[in-house]
Symmetry: C2
Subunit: 343 residues, 2 copies
């Protein structure tokens, strides 16, 4: 890898420094050219760091006197928490002192602050949240928007399609990513106005390889590289996925722990179930990316433990190394020129 | 049970008579006062019936010369298929010759035809699709709308809340059903305009016991009796649930069938996995109800096999016996009087 500096909001999330510090040290050990800036209460961070023998000069601490609360309103955080660890971490990206920032903090506040400080790329009206998920066929599917925009217009969804496609090409090196629009049926008459109008935009454009509508039960089949939807719908999809996975694992546990015989079956099945969990590994999928901004911002799950938070940092490294914002910008510029040429 | 007659669209679904006929005979054997009218191609139906020894006088055949195709547009079906098995089955409900009808056919056409022929109840602007799902705590949760309305307004969602609550009281005998509104967060500032405005309507009304917002990962926790949402979002929730359940069972199968040892583990775990499948039993949950119409219409999954289709018929029996449309009508009338009194 090349030299990359990542700023980390060390106070965000349910755990803060006790998770962020060991996760940071883990990733630093794996990437010899990486530099991390931990932003937060320096006293707390020093105390946490003292617990580990492998401190390196590639880790620096930047003090922040404030912290955005998990239930704080985004507007309040934006207005009153100018010295928060979140704000300073994003400022470091804006000032070019870091290539990306990672936070496990309040999603709304992170999005509002990132939007305000970094601004969107030229040609992009709204940033979106994108993340990858496992599929039956082994290859991942990327879904956006997962909750940044709850009243999207067709142009937003069109731009999300372009950004998702650029991301799939650049990160997963897929030459022509298959982009689908989430709908409640395949037929032309199905769907709400937003979906129908977006379908027309995508059908008449050569911006992405648009493969048409996809229903939610087919998202995880492995045919789609990118699935586009409004943030309300995407967030419901994401959380339904989590809820069903938890429900099934709970029912599986209940069934296995019913009596002596089923406990024996559980014992014998343990390696199988472990391999299943490994394949679905939620840690590996931790780290949603705010896409469409002039800078890389990665949001970790608030409850992420060390290895999951380390995954989120690694996602930020990849985004920075592959210059995703620049690639999106170049693609949007190319498309704008194309459409100017058409008209 | 009392005397109940159910009309069945015998031509709908992926399988038609080979599933509908044995399912009908199964349910007739279980309910000695039940009468079924199978509507469809009489020749085909007679041929299918001849395969079974237990034909009864409580089963009659009503010929229909047409059939609505699974991919036909609802408008086309409504306009041109006046002699379809679907249309005639719904007509039988309208004419009072049947208390309910069941179809595994084209959902859009069924909804459009039911809306047109039966009309909505007084005070109800739009019908919705409602169904039950298993939860961690064992009690079921009802979700509506699952796809009848894709551009709902707040009043629609308010009416869905009332209908869902009446249904939970009447069918599950829950004295005060906990009604939740599906959203992407708990805080007041979360959600789209539809959700925020519906929240205000529900908060200021005593029509239902409104428990506030619920996120999609909590739907299956077992705290909610009724979850209300727009049909686009509900359909995505339903299909995401199906997709994730299929993904996990696929990955579980892959893991168990990898080699000799894991196959042995599978063998030993078989009773456990079977008990899990029984608890989640998708057949038992087959049959979505069109709620808000002057008559009972139950939609079976298109791909339903015999036992699943039998479950859908049983749902229609319960709806008819409990007089659900009349109960909703009475409740809406009571609420309208209340609000007239208030103003």
């Amino acid at each position: 890898m090349s030299n990359v500096t990542i700023a980390i909001d060390a106070m965000g999330g349910d755990h803060g420094p006790p998770v962020v510090v060991p996760a940071g040290l883990q990733v630093l050990a794996r990437y010899p050219l990486l530099h991390l800036i931990l932003v937060g209460d320096s006293e707390l961070l020093e105390k946490e760091l003292a617990k580990f023998p492998n401190r390196t000069e590639r880790l620096t601490i930047q003090h922040a006197s404030e912290c955005v609360e998990m239930n704080e309103s985004p507007a309040h955080a934006l207005r009153t928490k100018k010295n928060s660890s979140m704000r300073i971490a994003i400022n470091l990206v804006k000032e070019g002192k870091a290539s990306a920032c990672v936070s496990a903090g309040n999603t709304g506040a992170l999005m509002a602050t990132a939007h305000f400080v970094l601004k969107t790329l030229p040609g992009i009206d709204r940033a979106a949240i994108i993340s990858s998920f496992p599929t039956k066929k082994g290859r991942d599917v990327r879904i956006l928007d997962l909750g940044a925009n709850v009243d999207s217009v067709p142009n937003n969804l069109f731009q999300f399609a372009v950004m998702g496609s650029v991301m799939a090409s650049a990160i997963d090196t897929i030459p022509t990513p298959q982009v689908y629009l989430l709908n409640i049926g395949h037929e032309d008459n199905k769907g709400n106005e937003l979906v129908k109008q977006t379908d027309r935009l995508l059908t008449h454009s050569k911006a992405v390889h648009y493969a048409g509508y996809i229903e939610a039960d087919k998202i995880y089949d492995g045919d789609a590289d990118v699935v586009v939807c409004d943030g309300f719908v995407g967030n419901v999809t994401l959380k339904t996925t989590e809820g069903v996975a938890i429900l099934i694992s709970q029912l599986l546990k209940d069934a296995f722990y019913r009596n002596g015989w089923t406990k024996l079956a559980a014992l014998i099945s343990l390696p199988v179930l472990k391999s299943l969990i490994k394949r679905m590994d939620p840690d590996r999928y931790n780290g949603a990316i705010f896409i469409g901004l002039k800078g890389v911002v990665v949001k970790s799950h608030g409850g992420a433990k060390t290895s999951a938070f380390a995954c989120a940092i690694e996602k930020a490294i990849v985004q920075a190394e592959k210059n995703i914002p620049q690639k999106i910008s170049a693609e949007v510029e190319r498309l704008l020129k194309l459409s100017a040429h058409d008209s």
